[in-house]
Symmetry: C2
Subunit: 226 residues, 2 copies
């Protein structure tokens, strides 16, 4: 019974997600859903990319949080339009929330839209928001066993970014182990290492993102559910 | 409609949780539900407490993970009985899962039962498992804004443990800020700072836990839902 209900919710979600994706593709916007644990460094990662792009790429950000506007304020401080979704308890963003946010956002001229999901390595994996690309962010301080423990989210992404690599000297984190697990779970995923506060590794991610922007195609890749 | 469904699920959960708590109280077992993000250091925190108690307190551990048995193997390596629950995708433990686990566990002589929840700072907050005490673990590497962003889990706990404090020199983490937020959200919570790998701060937590053990009462405090 509970499984049927979950499937129904996901089916309804996916229909709205498909509409979001059509809207975004039609507007020439590449939409990136950023997932990761609380404190994995999602906002800092997005900030680093926005700083790297500077004025060269027009970006906007939708911030998903259970409560508060801390992250949206951080993005706006960079001069980038940000819209905060407060889920009021819900543990993930869903496509209807994003549809509502898209009605509020001025997409004119926007090439790149980041959606920062609620900090959660589990539930957001199941909800297509209508993004074109999905990036999972995992910090070295979370440990090298996380792909084995939370496989679904790693399987659903086009890219996996290991963040906070500047903390590696102080932490027992086996990069080879997690990379082997990620490649086994998701052989097609692009993998990056980033120390976002120092800007290290950011250009490689930016280049990968840019490849998905300037083709002018409206049929960007589609993450969806695997 | 979705809210009603959620309430029904929670009500059914709470009925089973109450039975779990009665069973545990009757057996003289103090049950501690440990919550926190993926990689916040829950297992290492439990390991440090088990090492500190040594043979003086008889303990057992229920490990909750979406997949795998990594954590249960770590606990068993210490000579402590461990039982792994695999949620197969679910983002939190619920009371029926724990009820099933309790049927498998030999509680004879056990004074302290840890339940390590699925790594998730959101969903586990809503599910009473039948524990007597709830501890939230937050690592300094997750950032000092997490109480504001994830208030429910901090409000539901009897204790908040800041972990990985040995990383503080390398991280911009404002302890005063998070402590002020926690005290505002949950004035009654006990607060601890721990560097579990070094054993620092562990005795204080152990002493706090021990106070809930050796009273011989069967009416331990009850975390439940606030």
């Amino acid at each position: 019974m509970r499984i049927v209900a979950a499937k129904k919710i996901l089916k309804a979600n996916d229909q709205v997600a498909a509409k979001n994706r059509d809207l975004l593709s039609g507007a020439g916007v590449c939409c990136v859903n950023v997932l990761g644990s609380p404190g994995s460094g999602k906002t800092t990662f997005i900030e680093a990319l926005l700083k790297h792009f500077g004025g060269r790429i027009r970006a906007a950000v939708i911030e998903g949080d259970i409560a508060g506007t801390i992250d949206a304020e951080r993005i706006e401080a960079l001069g980038v339009p940000a819209l905060q979704i407060n889920t009021e308890g819900a543990c993930h963003l869903d496509a209807p929330m994003v549809a509502a946010a898209l009605r509020e956002l001025d997409l004119n001229g926007v090439q790149l839209l980041f959606i920062e999901n609620v900090g959660n390595l589990v539930c957001p994996a199941s909800f297509d928001l209508g993004e074109h690309l999905r990036i999972v962010v995992l910090s070295v301080s979370e440990g090298d066993d996380k792909a084995v423990k939370y496989p679904a989210v790693f399987q659903s992404a086009q890219a996996v970014c290991i963040t906070k690599t500047d903390l590696s000297p102080y932490i027992d984190f086996n990069l080879s182990r997690i990379m082997a697990d990620v490649r086994r779970l998701n052989p097609g995923a692009s993998c990056f290492q980033v120390a976002a506060l120092r800007g290290e590794g950011v250009p490689a991610v930016a280049e990968w993102l840019a490849e998905h922007l300037h083709t002018g195609r409206s049929d960007f890749g589609h993450s969806g559910q695997k």
